[in-house]
């Protein structure tokens, strides 16, 4: 008698498996390898309060202007794992060429000019570094409206080039807002040059602004706070959730990032009767993790992931199934209602979003932003619409 084919047996027994088969299932209750704990972790439903609305003004999303030049720099310095402070990018240049810089040499040239003599400092730095004119930066102004109508402004990142960021700050009136004490505090999402090295542009107008940074800055990053003339309170955020004001929380993700950086902060807002808004710098941890974290840890209105703003890396990995390796598919399950994307989202992904019918709020492609599919420099987005 030939052995009975298991698959045929199972196909034939589709309507009900006999006791013998159930017997094998028993093995899983008692197998010595089985875990005794349930895999599912209950949703924590942390209450971060509610706010009425959020308005975001894009001060700048153009971190650099020419990608070819940027890629040549990366190649010349030795690749994506190289410490950003050694690139010889402005403002930390030592005239020794690409990949041969260091923080100490660079800051020594300009420290005495920070933060009040930015033009002079940048001019010196330009001389000593590579491709300084290619530097731009990422920063946005976040205005939160509380339930009682009171509005609070936060600065989210401070860009890279002193020259470019000062132009952008002046264009949007950030310089005056800072000087008048209208901005509550500055959040630095992560230590990357295009989000952080423009710090003196903020401290020039308000040196004592409260500063929130990830707890995983490297020594150079921490030193730069002092060297930029900052004299205010510094809060190093621990991993996980930190409440900021009702309806607003920061979340610190522990994720390794290229150019020798670690950790990124993103913001979550809970908007009354609307849902969750997430604001990111680069989202190096990946949107999928970002969204799953919110689902797992936070309680938010209508259980609706409503809006998304910022640079949006979808996932740090390749999927092992080529069918799913289209990054845009992963977002569908969240049914996001309003998206403003720019910066490291990538024009290709942004175009895919638009093609896929995602609710992308288009921009005006002004002030050197490259596409209307981006919420570009000078553009504003409000949540809810």
């Amino acid at each position: 008698m030939s052995p009975i084919n298991r698959r045929d047996f199972l196909k034939g027994a589709a309507l009900g498996l006999g006791a013998g088969v159930m017997g094998a299932m028993g093995a899983f209750s008692y197998t010595p390898i089985r875990t005794k704990f349930l895999p599912q972790v209950k949703r924590q439903m942390a209450d971060i309060g509610v706010c009425k609305s959020v308005k975001i003004t894009n001060i700048s999303e153009t971190s650099w202007f020419d990608n070819d030049i940027f890629m040549k720099n990366v190649s010349g310095a030795g690749g994506l794992l190289v410490d950003q402070y050694t690139f010889n990018w402005a403002p930390f240049g030592n005239s020794k060429g690409i990949g041969k810089g260091n923080y100490a040499d660079g800051i020594a040239k300009i420290k005495h000019l920070l933060p009040n003599k930015l033009e002079e400092a940048w001019a010196i730095a330009k001389e000593a570094s590579v491709d300084a004119d290619n530097a731009g930066g990422y920063a946005c102004l976040v205005e939160v409206e509380a339930m009682d109508g009171k509005k609070t402004k936060y600065l989210f990142d401070t860009g890279w080039s002193y020259e470019w960021m000062d132009i952008c700050f002046k264009r949007e009136g950030i310089d005056n807002m800072l000087a008048n004490g209208e901005i509550e505090s500055l959040f630095i999402t992560h230590e990357h040059m295009d989000h952080y090295w423009g710090l003196p542009v903020t401290t020039k107008y308000r040196p004592d602004i409260p500063l929130y940074i990830p707890g995983t800055f490297y020594p150079e990053g921490k030193q730069y706070i002092k060297d930029s003339g900052h004299v205010g309170k510094i809060t190093e955020l621990k991993k996980g959730l930190t409440r900021v004001q009702p309806g607003m929380a920061a979340y610190s993700f522990e994720v390794p990032i290229i150019f020798r950086v670690f950790g990124e902060i993103s913001l979550y807002f809970n908007i009354k009767d609307v849902g969750l808004l997430s604001v990111t710098g680069c989202c190096h941890q990946g949107i999928v993790l970002f969204a799953d974290t919110a689902y797992r840890e936070l309680q938010y209105e209508k259980d609706q992931f409503y809006g998304l703003y910022g640079g949006l890396h979808i996932s740090p990995f390749d999927d092992w199934d080529p069918k799913y390796d289209d990054l845009v598919i992963g977002l569908k399950k969240w049914d996001i209602q309003r998206v403003g994307c720019n910066h490291c989202t990538g024009l290709i992904t942004a175009n895919k979003f638009v093609d896929a019918g995602y609710p992308v709020v288009k921009g005006t492609a002004r002030f050197r932003s490259k596409s209307q599919n981006y919420l570009g420099n000078g553009d504003i987005i409000t949540f809810p619409a």
């Binding site: 008698m1 047996f9 028993g26 899983f28 895999p39 070819d68 890629m71 994506l80 522990e254 024009l347």
Partner: protein
């Protein structure tokens, strides 16, 4: 002595600092409020491994999908194994004297539903794998609705030990050498025949061996991240078979020689207080496999994109570049156009560094003209991939042959050949002797270059399928399959193919190095300086005997230049005159009142579109025809100049 394990000399001191990966002090479990340092560290290992996706592939990763539904979990695939693995965090404890942390991750094996391995898994696992939702189960295995079923695939444990001072980290795989589940009842079908005999093994598979490639890739990742070598240790303990008794209870039954195999990869110093294994190993037992299958070459891969004129190569190239750039896989492109102005280089803009090879035909002076261009690209970009888009008239055999000369710079990739469905459909002929004329059609034999392009392909892309009747598509497919049975055939419109599959195809073929199909050894060729105006006589002087080149077929290109804008009527007049004579016409022309227009004619289809990008190369049409039409062309050109 267990085969494959060797005793090694005393361990060397490999120093390592955890802070290079994870730059903060570690928290002991009791201080961590239910979070897991180990899961965070493992996640950081995965992310670091994937900073450069081509490097991740070289190390052996074939994709990771994080599962964030509940506990930290991931599914992944690795080189040397066809299965998907599941990794799920279980628990974390402090090591003695609080010198370190030990954590346990459960390991799952999810074979493909068609895999023969499932015949040796518990029957319920096979049943789960045959369900329609199996792919979802695998991707979301820790979700409540899937977890119970996923348990039937649970097969091993992974322990991570980390020294609190960051001086050492180890990963240890523990799994039964053979996972055997005896079913005392047996399982019978409705006719009383035994699917599993009473007392026989319902399940019997080599769990440890199956997991070993995963440990190898994890070890590779540790070595890569910490820039040091792993030390390996092995050990074992007794493992009894599981038995499902007649009353449904599960008991254990000793099996002679049954062992739980343990193998550990450590970077840095041994973790104080961690479990130690008795044997040192020189290397993991499948070390040779580890190197062989992880595509050890660090040279960039060069793919060749070929295909006949107007088939849509440039569009496919743009889509391909979009796909690669999306994943930060920096790619250099080399283009060659058989014509005096590299139009396609103008069409492809944005973030690609493109080298134009304007020397006419890449066939004729390839290694010489490619080398400086390649070197320029290699220094400009951290590229791991190059795509050489050849002229639609190039013979890929000859191209491949010449690229052997560049084996110090690049490693051979795929040959993708694009063919135009509209063009082919128009040439379908009846199969002789076919009874019904409507049913049987086939492609006539191809000439020279076209045949070579199809035969040399690893991937055949049939483009413009939206414009062709499905029955014609079928006939075309059949004919192409006959000509090249091994190529992967992809049907597409607008050049969108599943680019993610190209990696898999490349891997399958990478084992067979490119070889020149000719029996004659490659001869040194005289560089032809004015290739684009070759006349048939000159062609005969160039020693190209062993490969059919376009030159023998007498292709030729002529350039018509326009100093000023012309009217639409004039443009159409010129085009209608030449279209019947030419294989291809293309150019950028300023049309009065309409601005810059892109003109493309191929395979009987004319397209004129506004050209919106900035360029200062315009005011020309290139005509590509063959020898028979050359004379005619020359007189017409003279007429055009008078317009």
């Amino acid at each position: 002595m267990r085969p494959g394990f060797e005793r090694a000399a005393k361990p060397k001191d490999n120093s390592m600092k955890l802070s290079t990966l994870f730059p903060r002090t570690l928290l002991l479990p009791e201080d961590n409020q239910g979070n897991s340092e180990s899961a965070a560290i493992l996640n950081a290992i995965f992310i670091r491994a994937y900073f450069e996706r081509s490097k991740a592939r070289r190390i052996g990763w074939r994709g990771i999908l994080p599962n964030n539904a509940g506990r930290p979990a991931w599914t992944c695939r690795v080189a040397s194994s066809p299965h998907t693995f599941g990794i799920m965090f279980d628990k974390e404890i402090s090591l003695p004297q609080k010198q370190g942390i030990q954590s346990l991750f459960k390991l799952f094996i999810f074979p493909e539903s068609s895999s023969k391995l499932l015949d040796f898994f518990p029957l319920i696992a096979l049943n789960n794998a045959m369900q329609k939702d199996y792919p979802l189960l695998v991707r979301n295995f820790t979700q409540e609705q899937y977890f119970d079923r996923a348990l039937s695939f649970l097969s091993g444990n992974l322990y991570m030990e980390t020294a609190l001072d960051g001086s050492g980290l180890s990963l240890r795989l523990e799994a039964p050498s053979v996972r055997r589940i005896i079913n005392q009842n047996g399982i019978f079908n409705s006719s009383g025949q035994a699917v599993v005999k009473p007392g026989a093994a319902e399940s019997e598979y080599r769990a440890f061996k199956i997991f070993l490639p995963l440990l190898a890739v994890l070890a590779n990742s540790l070595e890569e991240i910490f820039n040091t070598k792993c030390t390996f240790n092995a050990g074992h303990s007794r493992w009894d078979d599981e038995v499902v008794e007649t009353d449904g209870q599960v008991t254990r039954q000793p099996h002679a020689g049954g062992i739980l195999t343990k193998m550990q990869a450590t970077v840095g110093k041994p973790v104080p207080g961690g479990d130690s294994l008795s044997h040192r190993l020189n290397a993991l037992p499948l070390e040779k496999e580890r190197n062989k299958n992880t595509l050890n070459s660090t040279l960039p891969v060069l793919h060749v994109l070929t295909g006949f004129l107007g088939s849509g190569k440039t569009t496919l190239l743009q889509e391909w570049l979009n796909f690669l750039h999306d994943k930060n896989r920096f790619t250099g492109v080399m283009q060659n156009e058989f014509g005096q102005v590299g139009l396609d280089a103008v069409l492809l803009q944005g973030e690609t560094v493109v080298e134009e090879l304007d020397e006419g035909c890449v066939c004729c002076s390839l290694a010489d003209s490619l080398r400086p261009g390649l070197q320029r690209l290699l220094s400009a970009l951290p590229a791991q991939e190059f795509i050489l888009e050849t002229t639609g008239l190039a013979n890929p055999e000859y191209v491949k042959e010449s690229l052997e000369d560049l084996s110090d710079l690049i490693t051979p990739g795929l040959v993708l050949t694009m063919v135009d469905a509209i063009d082919l459909a128009a040439s379908l002929v009846s199969v002789p002797g076919a009874a019904s004329s409507a049913a049987e059609l086939k492609l006539p034999p191809f000439e020279g270059v076209r045949e070579a392009q199809i035969q040399a392909a690893d991937v055949l892309v049939l483009n413009k399928t939206d414009a062709v009747h499905p029955s014609s598509i079928n006939s075309i497919k059949k004919s192409l399959k006959k000509l090249n049975p091994t190529a992967k055939l992809m049907l597409t419109q607008w050049g969108r193919i599943p680019f993610a599959e190209l990696d898999q195809i490349y891997e399958q073929r990478a084992k067979t190095k490119w070889s020149c199909t000719s029996e004659v050894s490659p001869t040194k060729h005289v560089p032809v300086t004015s290739a684009f105006t070759l006349l048939p006589m000159e062609a005969a002087l160039v020693p190209h005997d062993h490969a059919q080149t376009h030159v023998k077929e007498g292709f030729n290109s002529q350039l018509m230049e326009f100093a000023e804008a012309i009217s639409e009527a004039q443009l159409l007049q010129i085009l209608h005159k030449y279209m019947p004579l030419m294989y291809r016409i293309k150019g950028l022309i300023e049309v009065q009142g309409q601005g810059l227009m892109l003109v493309q004619y191929a395979a009987g289809q004319l397209a004129i579109e506004p050209y919106l990008q900035k360029t200062n190369k315009y005011g020309y049409l290139i005509f590509i025809g063959n020898q028979a039409k050359e004379k005619h062309t020359q007189t017409k050109n003279a007429a055009a100049k008078q317009l």
